[in-house]
């Protein structure tokens, strides 16, 4: 096994199991679409809340996608093979999370113009929204992978993943929505985006090692 074949295999498996990605996307669109219907469809309410609604929906969709990231690998014995293959397990974890991040976030970005219009997000804030998604979601995936690896051997691990991981997601949601709000009222937002980027970079350094430790413990 090489890092390249590992990455290629992960891409193939994800491509052939598209329903996971599609489910996350559908969930995201449905949550965003139901908000105006359930609360208030007026532009006066939706425009200021749009960033928060989109980010909450994105976090829930990501939580849904991240829960099963290692489940199949644990069941079919490939997780064990990664541990003993002689390659660096943190690097393998990083590759896997990066591929999943792209597979889930890229479709979300594609529908972002549509949902932004639906929620009447001012056009000036759209690119700030995109920037927060690009800067903040890597952190969500990297932290989520730790929770998923910790609970992979448990039958009812999904609830535990949410309980373990959600508190760590809160700062990301706060920084992201603050950046969008700031852009809507004409205040500087770069600081918030920079904080998101910093949190993601910190996760990038720490998370692969912690995920690898959690995977080893689960295989044990």
């Amino acid at each position: 096994m090489t890092y390249l074949t590992f990455g290629r295999t992960q891409c193939r498996v994800l491509w052939r199991r598209k329903q996971d990605t599609v489910n996350a996307l559908l969930f995201f669109v449905m949550v965003v679409a139901l908000f105006p219907l359930g609360i208030n469809p007026s532009a006066a309410f939706l425009a200021p809340a749009a960033g928060g609604i989109i980010w909450c929906a994105a976090v829930l969709a990501i939580l849904m996608a991240i829960d099963g990231i290692f489940k199949e690998d644990f069941r079919d014995g490939t997780l064990e093979q990664w541990v003993v293959c002689g390659l660096s397990l943190p690097v393998l974890m990083l590759i896997k999370v990066a591929i999943h991040w792209f597979a889930v976030v890229f479709p979300l970005l594609l529908v972002m113009p549509l949902v932004s219009e639906m929620l009447m997000l001012p056009s000036g804030s759209f690119w700030v929204l995109v920037a927060t998604v690009l800067a903040g979601t890597p952190c969500l995936f990297l932290l989520g992978a730790i929770g998923a690896a910790l609970t992979v051997s448990l039958k009812q691990g999904a609830t535990l993943v949410i309980l373990v991981i959600l508190p760590f997601y809160l700062p990301v949601i706060i920084f992201a929505t603050s950046a969008i709000e700031a852009s809507q009222v004409g205040l500087p937002y770069i600081g918030f985006v920079a904080m998101l980027l910093a949190v993601s970079l910190l996760s990038l350094v720490v998370s692969p090692f912690m995920t690898a430790v959690a995977v080893k413990a689960s295989v044990n």
């Binding site: 096994m1 074949t5 193939r12 199991r17 079919d76 014995g77 064990e80 003993v84 002689g86």
Partner: protein, 203 residues
């Protein structure tokens, strides 16, 4: 290919769920040897293989491979071994060929075809693993033995789900491997008809 390697496991202490599986276990495996690990269910046979492979960490003990201590630097050993555990390690959404290439990317199409011929899977190259029976999946997992060039094989119940012809094919491959100087550490409840083994009994 001729191998020359050795594996020394000394004073290994394995514990699982606060239960001692084995304590002060020592054994040596030399080139051209098959060591069959025997014991009751739950005696720790699979755990022993996992410890050697590096999937589990022993509480105490030392593992030497080719004279080098690999207890805490298992990558050196892992690059020279094939470990086939209880799980087949195959992705159900991939074809047989894609699965095998993910483990052995340097395999040529001719080599792949000849191995699948040997394992009676010649017409299944493009078949998805999810469509295979348990025995066929086991054969695919074991195909890595033909495609890799590693001196040490760690096989956990390799004959599980195999039919008589499958067992014979794998046994002959094990014999060929030890003739070339390879080493095999395996767990099985089945007596090997054509391979001379040394037994290690876990109680």
């Amino acid at each position: 290919m001729l191998f020359s390697a050795s594996l020394d496991v000394s004073n290994v202490w394995i514990e699982r769920s606060d239960r001692d599986l084995c304590r002060d276990l020592s054994f040596t495996l030399r080139a051209g040897e098959v060591l069959r690990v025997l014991g009751d269910n739950g005696a720790g046979k699979s755990s022993l293989l996992k410890v050697v492979a590096g999937a589990m960490t022993p509480l105490e003990g030392r593992i030497m491979f080719n004279g080098q201590d690999v207890t805490s630097h298992r990558a050196l050993l892992q690059q020279s071994m094939v470990y086939i555990g209880h799980g087949a390690g195959l992705k159900s959404m991939l074809t047989i060929e894609e699965n095998l290439l993910s483990y052995c990317p340097a395999t040529s199409p001719e080599q792949m075809q000849s191995v699948l011929d040997i394992l009676d899977l010649a017409n299944h190259q493009e078949t998805y693993v999810k469509a295979l029976s348990a025995g066929q999946s086991r054969r695919v997992a074991l195909a890595r033995l033909w495609l890799s060039q590693c001196p040490l094989w760690l096989l956990d119940e390799p004959f599980a789900s195999l039919d008589v012809s499958g067992v014979a094919v794998v046994e002959s491959k094990i014999q060929q491997h030890i003739n070339e100087g390879g080493m095999v550490l395996l767990t099985t409840h089945q007596a090997l008809s054509s391979v001379v083994t040394r037994d290690l009994v876990l109680s």
